[in-house]
């Protein structure tokens, strides 16, 4: 029974495919899963927008959208219709072809990422041997799309926004890679499904998720930071910092193309959260061994939504950084810590089993972080925040 629930989609696909001639079955299956992904995540996106707006509203003491439909849940539909029916403006001096290509490339590249994410037991589109590498390759190619958008609109704001975005994404991509490499080092595989399998063990009913190891925790924090920056979410949303450059690289976009950008941002958020879940939070594995009967895809998506919620929460809470702060943070704090984390992971790998590795690894990390914190405090870079309210 539970197996059936767990594998329901796989079984469904088999059943549907079985009507076709044998030659077509395999491609048809792929097409089917692709179609599901292509439909599913935009739906999730619609849902998320309304949740985000309502959540932010709660955080900021106001009602969010509450007119269209029950509790304003049909708001995304209205937005969708609006953005589809709006006029698609292309600036006269813009580089039309590139201007058009940019959002397409972005969305396609982002969609590619989902191909390797295992969304449940046996629920991965292509179980690639180099899945992680593929994911990062695709992630890397989004930057170009952003640049295209910014450059092609022939608009200073757009160009600056794009440049900022690209610089920021490159800087944080390094961090993203390094923090993921630790997982690869320990699990010994680049295939995401294998990585999940490696975490799908339990001792005393508790899972072996990598976040529950010293290096895993540190790596996950780094990963979360980098992910926020990669997706240009607050507090790293300088590329579209309204107060400085109107809307960053998609200032000159309207209507459907803008919607595509918007979609792209959220899809990127989903896929990167999914990757984080897969790498550190045990993917589709249950948090307790006795909860194993719950279908795996439920776990995956609930973890996904959890991290999405954290994203929203951060956006509601944290103020935006300055560009120099952003870069310094990336290169002078996060990157060194990631390198240290690599070392720690290596130690973890080679110190064998037993308490020694726990002691050594957590010792090193704690010393490093506390030391860094004390140093910064002495330098006065960090400390109790002092707000200046408008008198």
């Amino acid at each position: 029974m539970f197996e059936f629930l767990d594998q329901i989609f796989v079984i469904l696909r088999h059943w549907l495919v079985s009507f076709l001639p044998a030659a077509w079955q395999q491609p048809a299956g792929v097409v089917m899963s692709v179609a599901v992904i292509v439909v599913l995540f935009p739906a999730l996106f619609a849902l998320t927008t309304v949740f985000e707006r309502k959540g932010l509203a709660r955080i900021q003491n106001r009602f969010g959208p509450n007119r269209t439909g029950p509790f304003g849940f049909f708001q995304p539909v209205a937005d969708g219709i609006k953005s589809l029916t709006k006029e698609d403006i292309v600036p006269s001096s813009a580089d039309a072809a590139v201007h058009f290509l940019a959002p397409v490339v972005l969305v396609v590249a982002v969609y590619m990422g989902f191909a390797v994410l295992p969304m449940g037991r046996n629920m991965v589109l292509v179980d690639m041997d180099a899945g992680l590498l593929f994911y990062f390759a695709m992630g890397a190619s989004t930057e170009l799309a952003v640049f295209m958008a910014g450059w092609s609109s022939r608009n200073k704001y757009s160009l600056l926004g794009a440049m900022r975005a690209v610089a920021q994404m490159i800087s944080y991509e390094v961090v993203l890679l390094l923090s993921s490499v630790t997982v690869v080092m320990i699990s010994g595989s680049l295939s995401l499904s294998k990585i999940v399998e490696a975490q799908n063990h339990y001792t005393w009913g508790l899972p072996h998720w990598y976040i529950f190891t010293p290096w895993g925790l540190a790596g996950f924090v780094m990963y979360a930071i980098a992910a926020t920056a990669e997706t240009n979410r607050s507090p790293f949303d300088l590329p579209e910092g309204e107060s400085e450059l109107v809307a960053g690289y998609h200032t000159e976009y309207s209507g459907f193309k803008f919607a595509l950008f918007f979609l792209g941002e959220y899809l990127a958020m989903f896929s990167i959260s999914g990757l984080g879940t897969t790498l550190f939070l045990g993917g589709w594995s249950a948090p307790f061994s006795w909860l194993g009967w719950v279908p795996s895809w439920i776990w995956f998506f609930s973890k996904l939504m959890m991290s999405i919620f954290v994203f929203i929460w951060m956006r509601g809470t944290l103020p935006r950084l300055r560009q120099d702060q952003l870069m310094n943070f990336a290169w002078k704090f996060v990157l060194p810590m990631c390198l240290l984390n690599l070392l720690v992971a290596a130690l973890w790998r080679f110190l064998g089993d037993g308490w020694v590795k726990w002691a050594v690894c957590s010792g090193i990390l704690i010393v490093a972080y506390v030391g860094m914190g004390l140093l910064e405090m002495r330098r006065g870079h960090i400390g109790p925040r002092s707000y200046r309210y408008a008198e």
Binding site: V98, L144, W151
Partner: protein
């Protein structure tokens, strides 16, 4: 030869040609990106998964970005008044075509004795990794040093001198 190969090959060549012939430098950069992507596809078509993804990651993710940055930093995006091709472009073209002629001739000369299609080799990333830190560990180290040196060197070369220097 499969159709896929011809399509990708056409894509690559088209990208390359566009990159070398377009007027607007940024367009060239984007075109070369297309060529890079096509090459990555060719690698995949050759069952070299790892190399393919590495190609995308490095060339599209890094080199292309570097190039566009460089273009924007050197005001290269506006087309120069006296043409995009150098005065001696004709000889250049001739030489290049000569090179192609020789290479192609060589290939065709040896074509008959080239091996026919072989069984697709199965290479797991793990094998590659083990080869990298096993048999090829020395090159790997050297590459690491080289990349570090290049990083520092690029920064030092491109860094803006303070006032007073030179």
């Amino acid at each position: 030869m499969s159709l896929v190969f011809y399509l990708i090959a056409a894509l690559v060549v088209a990208g390359g040609l566009a990159a070398m012939m377009l007027k607007n430098t940024v367009h060239c950069a984007l075109a070369v990106t297309v060529a890079f992507a096509g090459l990555a596809l060719l690698f995949l078509n050759l069952d070299a998964q790892f190399a393919g993804f590495a190609q995308i990651l490095v060339y599209i993710g890094a080199v292309a970005i570097l190039v566009v940055f460089a273009i924007l930093l050197t005001k290269g995006s506006e087309t120069p008044k006296d043409g995009v091709f150098s005065q001696t472009w004709l000889t250049g073209l001739a030489v290049a075509s000569a090179v192609f002629a020789v290479l192609g001739w060589a290939v065709l000369q040896t074509a008959p004795m080239l091996p026919r299609a072989t069984a697709t080799p199965v290479v797991s990333v793990q094998q590659i990794g083990q080869a990298l830190i096993g048999q090829y560990v020395l090159p790997l180290e050297i590459i690491a040093v080289l990349l570090t040196a290049a990083l520092i060197g690029a920064v030092i070369v491109a860094i803006h001198e303070k006032e007073g220097a030179n």
